[in-house]
């Protein structure tokens, strides 16, 4: 399968009075056609900002300071942030689903108007065709009697239903990539499962790729083929879902896994939280930001700059002195 989206060394910074916040600091990842990947990390580690950077929706004081975002052979960062090229990609080729279904729909426009607007804008449909398509889309995402509900306002829908509408909007123009930014965080657990299933169905049906951004490894475990673990604006480990769950190499990933319950483990294991809090990203030292919280940290970590991502096996990369270097010297992989 060919690569659809390739992000290379993306860096996004926010200039604040306290100093420069490196929200995304040299992040690279790629997404193949019809692939589902997960981007996992704690709050404030740059997951959302990296995705908004792909869409060029970073607004002042934030700024994308470097890197490349290659989509369909073109570097998106060469386009003007609000220029016509970028606008024709947003919504039409790369669509996004946001975290808060309660506030992500415009309260003064009907659901129908919000759905048809995108269809008219990107696909050039007339009002009648767009309306028909909108009803169809509502049916697809599991909202019954769309022809009645299309004239309703967002406040007449529950959170789960609104997120369904958001999904309908996102897939309406047949995008190549769907970015779901914590799509289920604001919903209860049963609805979460339904919506994840729905998103997977939609992605299959429309032959799109999906990026799931979440802080919950459990969410991506079932759906993602590959997972990227982010910490403090960097990717610290990347690999297939199987590798990440079975052989986590970075202490942070191990920590994340230790603090969620699993069905396939021995009984009586205690859940161990990761001590401390994510670092403040203002004026960070160039050393590994996880070191202060790391149980395996050594002197090496506080003296040397961030360890680069090292290839340690089939699509498995890790950025840690502990496992990366040893494994690399052990194997003859590139």
């Amino acid at each position: 399968m060919s690569t659809l989206l390739e992000v290379k060394n993306l860096a996004t910074q926010f200039k604040t009075e306290g100093g420069i916040v490196k929200a995304v600091d040299g992040v690279s990842y790629h997404l193949d056609e019809r692939e589902i990947i997960g981007l996992v990390g704690e709050s404030g580690c740059g997951k959302s900002v990296s995705q908004l950077s792909v869409m060029q929706l970073i607004s002042s004081p934030g700024r994308i300071v470097g890197g490349e975002i290659i989509f369909e052979g073109k570097n998106l960062l060469e386009y003007e942030a609000n220029g016509p090229e970028m606008r024709s990609i947003r919504g039409a080729k790369i669509a996004m689903i946001f975290q808060e279904p309660m506030t992500s729909l415009n309260p003064v426009l009907t659901i129908g108007r919000q759905l048809t607007e995108t269809l008219e804008l990107h696909l050039g449909m007339d009002a009648e065709a767009a309306r028909k398509r909108a009803i169809e889309l509502l049916g697809m995402v599991g909202i019954p009697s769309g022809e009645n509900r299309i004239n309703d306002y967002p406040h007449q829908f529950s959170g789960g239903m609104r997120q369904r509408v958001m999904i309908a909007m996102a897939i309406s123009c047949n995008p190549k990539i769907l970015i779901a930014d914590e799509p289920t965080t604001a919903l209860d657990v049963t609805t979460q499962a339904q919506l994840l299933e729905l998103m997977k169905d939609m992605v299959d049906r429309f032959q799109a790729s999906l990026i799931i951004v979440t802080h919950n490894l459990g969410v991506v475990a079932r759906y993602a083929q590959r997972i990227y673990i982010m910490y403090a604006g960097r990717i610290v480990e990347a690999g297939t879902t199987k590798d990440i769950f079975a052989h986590p190499q970075h202490p942070y990933t191990m920590g994340l896994l230790k603090c969620i319950p699993r069905l396939d483990e021995e009984k009586g294991r205690k859940l161990v939280p990761i001590e401390g809090l994510p670092p403040n990203l203002i004026n960070m030292k160039p050393i590994c930001a996880f070191a202060p919280r790391c149980s395996a940290g050594s002197e090496r970590c506080s003296k040397n700059p961030w360890p680069p991502l090292v290839h340690i096996g089939n699509q498995h990369y890790v950025g840690c002195f502990l496992n990366g270097e040893e494994k690399r010297s052990g194997t003859s992989a590139k």
Partner: protein
């Protein structure tokens, strides 16, 4: 899940499918005071249109013999010093008041909102240039500025409209600017931009409608206030040229004879008050009826 979900409160008496128009009507006509305001405004518009048929006498030419007549069957509200019928002048004054009110508010609110919207949406330098200019305009007391402009431009109804539009512009710009700043931070604006909406589209179709309810209230309040301001200008002798009929100048003309014939001042004064009140009431009703977030609750 297949059930239609209704908001928690109220709505039980509402039929399941109500057309927008029916809902609007129900909410709008619910409050008696709003209906009263609407009746007053309808009468006002009616009066303005049919002034020549309604006025019992010529508003511009009176009989000097009937100067300062007390209210009687012939002159229901009496006559002024030149013997002109007060009622007829009041009726013709409606035209002046409405024209100045609607045109001024129309021009100022549209221009002001656009400026405020642009400044708020783009921020940075755009915001600085536009809003500092507005602040400079705001630095002058509104009436003083209108007075200055009107005296520079000269009398006449169109100059009154221009002067009042410029004087009231910053009010709309300020409010719209604030509304834009708060509305544009909403998730749905980001979501809309993520859907490929252009700046213009985002501003006009997504921010504007969300800022509309407060703007509607502002506009209706300003309609009342603008009519007051026009009355002020003509009271001060700037604005409508004689013998044109304006309520403000009628109050001014009448107040010299307050002891002899108080109705000369009180009739136009009360009319101004009533009209301003009616506009404000209707604005309130409109806001309640137009706000979809209040639908189902009211």
């Amino acid at each position: 899940m297949s059930d239609k979900q209704t908001p928690v409160t109220g709505a039980s008496e509402a039929p399941p499918v109500v057309s927008e128009w029916l809902r609007f009507r129900r909410v709008f006509f619910q409050r008696k005071i709003v209906v009263f305001g609407l009746v007053v405004l309808s009468l006002l518009v009616f009066t303005a249109i049919f002034a020549p048929w309604l006025a019992p006498h010529n508003p511009y030419k009176g009989k000097m013999a009937d100067s300062l007549a007390k209210p009687s069957k012939v002159y229901i509200l009496g006559t002024d010093i030149q013997g002109r019928d007060t009622l007829s002048r009041l009726i013709y004054g409606t035209r002046t008041a409405l024209m100045v009110g609607f045109l001024t508010v129309g021009i100022a609110s549209i221009a002001g909102s656009m400026l405020g919207l642009l400044a708020g949406y783009f921020g940075g330098v755009t915001d600085m240039i536009i809003m500092r200019a507005m602040d400079a305009l705001m630095g002058f007391p509104m009436l003083l500025l209108a007075l200055l402009l009107a005296s520079v431009l000269g009398g006449g109804i169109q100059n009154v409209i221009i002067a009042l539009s410029i004087a009231t512009l910053p009010g709309y710009a300020r409010v719209m600017n604030g509304l834009t700043l708060s509305v544009k931070e909403n998730d749905y604006i980001m979501a809309e931009r993520a859907m490929g909406s252009s700046d213009r589209r985002t501003m006009l179709k997504h921010i504007m409608p969300n800022a509309l309810p407060p703007m509607i209230v502002l506009v209706t309040v300003w309609l009342g206030l603008t009519i007051l301001a026009e009355a002020n200008l003509s009271f001060l002798g700037i604005g409508i040229k004689p013998p044109g009929a304006a309520w403000g100048s009628m109050v001014n003309d009448g107040y010299q004879y307050l002891m002899m014939n108080p109705i000369l001042s009180f009739a136009p004064g009360l009319t101004i008050m009533l009209v301003a009140f009616a506009f404000i009431m209707v604005g309130d009703g409109l806001r309640d009826a137009l706000d979809p977030r209040l639908r189902g609750l009211l």
